[in-house]
């Protein structure tokens, strides 16, 4: 049988891969893809804690659904910003988007 720790290790690995993507990639869309990986790792953790804890308490699944909603909102606003930035600056490289840096 599969113990709880295997799910936690898998989700830790997925989270770290997403974190590397967010920190290392240049392209803004690739950074958003990394954030998706991290949110998905958090969801796997929430659901496995629900399944291995008391299954009558639905908090784990309910908050996984709320994380889905947050991910959808984040992608909608993030990609709209990407399109708006691309329209005005003609680039998607995070290093070149330094308008607010001084």
């Amino acid at each position: 049988m599969v113990p709880l720790s295997w799910y936690l290790f898998l989700s830790a690995a997925l989270f770290s891969i997403g974190l590397y993507g967010v920190l290392a990639r240049k392209n803004v869309i690739a950074i958003l893809l990394g954030i998706e990986l991290m949110l998905n790792a958090a969801n796997i953790n929430l659901v496995s804690f629900w399944r291995y804890g008391s299954t009558a308490q639905m908090g784990g699944q309910v908050f996984a659904i709320i994380v889905f909603a947050v991910a959808a909102a984040e992608v909608a606003v993030g990609l709209a910003l990407v399109i708006a930035v691309y329209r005005t600056r003609k680039t998607l490289t995070a290093d070149e988007l330094d308008l607010m840096k001084w």
Binding site: L37, T55, A71, Y86
Partner: protein, 166 residues
């Protein structure tokens, strides 16, 4: 090895390999397609964890909407960076170091947990019924559910405004 363990290992391999491809591949359309493979592995994990509704939502919302939206935006924006210099910024070894440190810390903390070796208990009742009751019951999570709905509506209106600006 039981069938459950074999399914877990195959799914874990699919998730980790495709997640690594998401963060390393040059072509962003390919990265979005690898993200679909990762999310599908997540749906399989939800199914093995008896969260049937979340497995379906993962396929419908994540793969059906979010990943397709990524592909649309990649195609709407110019494919710069594709043939040119490296995809990673100059500090990528530091990023890898931070990621490996986070992984070591998380694995250590997960191993320290008192119920890390716990096994699945038998399900009490139908979790789908319990989930739908909890989402709309006033003494459970109806407030969080409604706040999430309003946040989603506000985010969609804001996204249309930002992307539509002349």
């Amino acid at each position: 090895m039981t069938a459950e363990q074999i399914i877990f290992f195959l799914t874990a391999a699919l998730i980790l390999v495709s997640a690594l491809m998401v963060v390393t591949t040059r072509n962003l359309v390919h990265a979005a397609l690898w993200l679909i493979a990762t999310l599908f592995g997540g749906a399989v994990l939800f199914a093995t964890l008896d969260a049937a509704f979340l497995a379906v939502v993962q396929v419908v919302v994540y793969i059906g909407a979010i990943a397709i939206m990524f592909i649309f935006v990649v195609m709407l924006t110019r494919r710069d960076l594709l043939a040119k210099a490296s995809q990673t910024n100059a500090g990528w070894p530091w990023a890898a170091l931070v990621a490996i440190g986070t992984l070591a810390g998380l694995v250590f903390l997960s191993g320290q947990m008192p119920n890390a070796g716990a096994q699945k208990a038998a399900l009490v009742g139908d979790p789908l019924v319990a989930l739908s009751t909890a989402l709309v019951s006033p003494d459970a999570y109806v407030l969080a559910f409604e706040v999430a709905s309003i946040m989603l509506l506000a985010a969609l209106v804001g996204a249309v405004y930002i992307a539509n600006r002349k």
